[in-house]
Point group: C4
Chain length 273, copies 4
C-alpha cells in the first residue's frame, strides 16, 4: 500500500494511465490555469477590469492559494522520485528545474508586497507562464516532447542562426545608418535606432514606419532583405532535418552482416548522436 | 446488370476509369460549382449585383435545386457503399462526413428562411465550400491525397505548433500591453486589443497600423519577431519531414532479388508507421 | 569533316567542352542579351530615355537583327539534332519548345508594326525573357537543371498548393467582405476588391493600406494569417523533399540480397518514380 | 621545446584543448572585439558620441594598435602552418584568406588618412566585421562549421536561387512599370525605381509605401507575391536538404559486425559526394 507521500506524488505527477482522483486533480488544475489566463487577459479590458475588480481579486487570492499548496505538496512529495531522492539536495535540484521555477514565479509576485514595499502588479503576468504546463499533460504531450527533443538536438545550430542574425543586424544597421542618417535623421537617429528598421527588414515584417529614401539606401535594403530570406530558410531547414532525424531514429531497423549473415542489432547506431 | 440504385451511386461516385454518363455528370457538377463561385463573387460587384439581380436569383434557385437533388440521390444510393450499408445508421454516418456536411451547408441557408424568419444571406457563402469537392475529382486528386495524408500524419505536430503560437501570442501581447499601454493607450488598449499587433508581428505580416514607440517596446518587438521566424520554420520543417515520409513509404516496396528470384521481405519497414 | 549545317548547329548549341568559336559566339550572345536587358531598363529612366533615344533605337535594330539571324540559323540547323530530324515536322516541333517561343517573342514585337497598325512598344519587354537562356549556358546550368527537375517532379504538389491557396483566397475574401464591407465600404468594396487584402495577408506581405477595424474582422484576419503561415510551409516542405529525392537518386547504392548474397543492381529502383 | 615563432602561432591559433596563456589571449581579443562593436554603436548615439569623444578616440587608437600587432604577429608566425610554409608566397597566400582580409580592413581606415587626404570615418565600420571571428573560437564553432559546409555544398543551388530572384525582379519591375507608371508616375518612376516595390513584394516585406492602385496592377502584384512565396521556399528547401546531407555524412561510419568482428565496408557510401 502506498504511503501518503507516494499517493500525493502520484496524484500530482500526471501519467496517461492514471486513476480517477489523479485525472480530476489534473483536469481541475488545467481549468484553473486556463481561467487564470482568461482572468489576466480580461482584467485589462476597459469596462470589465474596474467593474469586476473585487471578483478578480478574490479569484487571484484563490488561485494563488491553490498554486501555493500545489507547489508545496510537489516539493514535499518529490523525494519519491528517484532522481530527487535526497531530502535537501534533491529538493533544491528540483526547485531549479524550469517547471518548478515557473511555479514559483507564478505565485511569488503575490507574496512579495507583504514583505517589501514594491508594486509587482505587472509581474502578475508570470502566472501566464503556467500555461506551458498544459503541454506536459495534454493529449499531445508526446508530439510536444518531439519538439523539445528537436530543439535540444538542434540547439547549437539554432543558436548559431541567432548569432548570425545578430551580426547581420549590427552590420546592416551600421551601414544603413551611415547611408540614411543625413537625409532622415529622425528615422535613422543612431545605429541602435536603425536596428528597429533592420529588424523589421531582416524578419520581412516590414511595418513601413521607417523606410530608406535614398537610392543607395534602397539598394542596400534589397540586399539585406535577400539575406533575410536566407536567414528565414535556416531555421526551416534546421527544423526539417531535426524532424527527419526523429523519424529515422524511430524507424531504424537491424542490419544484416553480409560476411556472416547474422543480424546486427542497433547498438552501432548508438554512436550516432 | 446493376440496379437503378447502383447506377446512381456509380454516376455520383467519381472514379478515373468511369463511363461517359458519369464523366458528363461529374463535369456538369464541376461547372455548376465553379459558376456558383463566380456568381457569389460577382453579385457583390457594385454595378453587376443590382442590375442582374433577377438573373442571380434564378441561377441560385436552379443551383440549389440541382445541389439538393444531388444530395438526396447521394443519400439514397449511399447504401451501395459497403461502409454505409445499413439503411438508417449507415446513412446517418454518411451525413456527418465532412463532404456531406458541406453539401448540406451549401443548400440549407436557402431553405431555412421559408420556415424561420431569419436573414441568412451571408450564409450563402457556404456554397463556396463546395469548391473543395473539386480536389476529389480533378487530375491532381492523387497529389491532394498526399496533402491530406501529410496533414493527418503530422496533425499532432501541427496542433502543437498552433498551441505554441497561441501561448506566444498571449504572452507577447501581455508583455507588450504592459510596456506600451501607458504611451499609446489607443493602439494597445487591452491585452486582447494588443493581440492584433502581436498577430501581425508573429506572422511577419507587419501591417504597420500599430507599432511600438518606446525603446523597450521595440526591443521586445524584435525578440518576438525572432520567435515568429522560428515559428514559421516549424510548419515548413514539419511538412518537409511529412513529405519525405510519404516518399519513403511509396518507395519501400518489397524488392525481388533478380539472382534467386526470392522476395526480400522488408518486415523491418512495417514498423515505420 | 562536319558540313556547314553541322558547324552552325555546334556553334549555336552550347556544351561545356566546346571549341573557341563556339565559346566566343556564346559569350557574345550572352553579352548582347545582358546589354539588351540593361538598355530596356535604362530606357525608362527619366533623363536617359529621351536624350539617348537615337542610340537606343539603333541598338534595338542591331539586337533584333542579330537575334533574328540567330533564330533563323537555329531553325535551319536544328535538323542535325536527331530529335528534330524531319525537315518540316521536326522544325515545327522545335518552334513550339519554350526557348524557341521566347526567341520569337523577343523579335516579333519589332516586326509586327510594319504589317499591322498596332503599337507594341510594351511588348518590347518580351526581350527580357531571353535572359532565361543564360541559365542554359552558365557555369551553374547543372544546378539549374536540378531546379527544373524538382519543379517537374513536384509539379502536381505545387499546383495543388496554388489551388489550395486560391480556394483560401476566395473563401477568406468572401468572409472578410461580409464582415468589413458595411464599416469600410471603400476598402472592402466587393469580394474581388477584398482579394487585394486577402492576398497581402495570406502571403504575409501586409502592405497595410487595407486593414480590418472591427473586432470580428481582426479575429478573422488572425485565423487567415495562421493559414497563410501553413501555406508558406507547404512549398518549403515540398522543395525540401524534392531536393532530398534528387540527392537520394544520385546516391542510391546496390543492395545485397540476404538469400543468395549476390548484388542486386539498381533496376528495382527504376519502379520508384 | 617550441621556438618563439611556434609559441606565438600556437597562442594566436585557437584550438579547444589549449593552454592557459592561449585561453587568456583568445578571451582578451574576443572582449576587445565586442567592446569595439559596442563602441562603434554607442558613438552614434546623440548624447554619448560627442560627450565622450576623447574616450572613444583613445579607445580606437588602443584597439587599432592591438589589432595591428595581432595581425603582424599572425603574418610573422603563419609560416609555422604547413599550408603557408614558404616565407613570401605562403604569407601572400595567407594575406588573401577571408579572415586575414577582414583583419586588414579593420585597421586600414585608421592609417590611410595619415598618407592620403581622404575622410574614411565611415569605413571605421569595417571593424565590425571582426565580430565574424567570434564564430571561429566560440563553443559553437563546430555548428558554425556545419553552416559553412552546407553553404559551400549548396553554393550552386543558392546562386541559382539568387539569379532566379534577380530575373523575377527585373521582369516583375518591368511589367509593373508599364502597368502603373501612367497612374502613379511618382511611385513607379522607371523600371529601376519600380524595383523598390518589386523587392518589397517578392521578399514579402511589404513596407506599404508603394502599392499598385489599378486592378491590373493588383492582379499582377498577387501573381508576383505567389512567386515570392515559392522563392522563399527554395532556400528553405535547399538548406533542409543540405542539413540532412550533413547528418547522413556524419552517421555513415563503417559498421563493425559484432558477430564476426569484420568491417562492413561502406564503399557504396563513398560515392555520395
Amino acid at each position: 500500500m502506498p504511503t501518503l507521500k507516494e499517493s500525493v506524488y502520484d496524484i500530482l505527477d500526471y501519467d496517461p494511465e492514471c486513476g480517477l482522483v489523479e485525472k480530476i486533480v489534473t483536469i481541475g488544475l488545467i481549468i484553473l490555469i486556463i481561467t487564470n489566463v482568461i482572468a489576466v487577459i480580461l482584467q485589462t479590458e476597459p469596462g470589465i477590469g474596474t467593474e469586476y475588480a473585487t471578483f478578480f481579486n478574490v479569484f487571484e487570492v484563490f488561485s494563488v492559494g491553490i498554486f501555493t499548496i500545489e507547489y508545496l505538496l510537489r516539493l514535499w512529495s518529490i523525494t519519491v522520485d528517484l532522481r530527487y531522492r535526497e531530502p535537501v539536495r534533491g529538493r533544491l535540484r528540483f526547485m531549479v528545474t524550469p517547471f518548478a521555477l515557473i511555479d514559483v514565479l507564478a505565485v511569488l509576485p503575490f507574496y512579495v508586497p507583504f514583505f517589501l514595499p514594491v508594486d509587482l502588479r505587472t509581474l502578475r503576468l508570470f502566472r501566464l507562464l503556467r500555461v506551458l504546463r498544459l503541454f506536459k499533460t495534454g493529449r499531445y504531450s508526446q508530439a510536444f516532447d518531439i519538439f523539445i527533443r528537436v530543439f535540444r538536438n538542434k540547439q547549437a545550430e539554432l543558436l548559431v542562426t541567432v548569432a548570425v542574425a545578430l551580426v547581420l543586424l549590427i552590420i546592416s544597421s551600421s551601414l544603413m545608418y551611415s547611408v540614411e542618417h543625413d537625409v532622415q535623421p529622425d528615422k535613422f537617429p543612431s545605429i541602435i535606432g536603425t536596428m528597429w528598421w533592420a529588424m523589421a527588414t531582416l524578419t520581412t515584417i516590414g511595418y513601413g514606419d521607417v523606410t530608406p529614401i535614398t537610392p543607395l539606401g534602397k539598394l542596400l535594403s534589397g540586399c539585406i532583405a535577400v539575406l533575410g530570406i536566407a536567414l528565414f530558410g535556416l531555421p526551416a531547414g534546421i527544423f526539417a532535418s531535426g524532424f527527419m532525424e526523429e523519424i529515422q531514429r524511430k524507424t531504424q531497423h537491424p542490419v544484416i552482416c553480409p560476411h556472416c549473415g547474422k543480424l546486427i542489432d542497433e547498438q552501432n547506431r548508438e554512436r550516432e548522436t
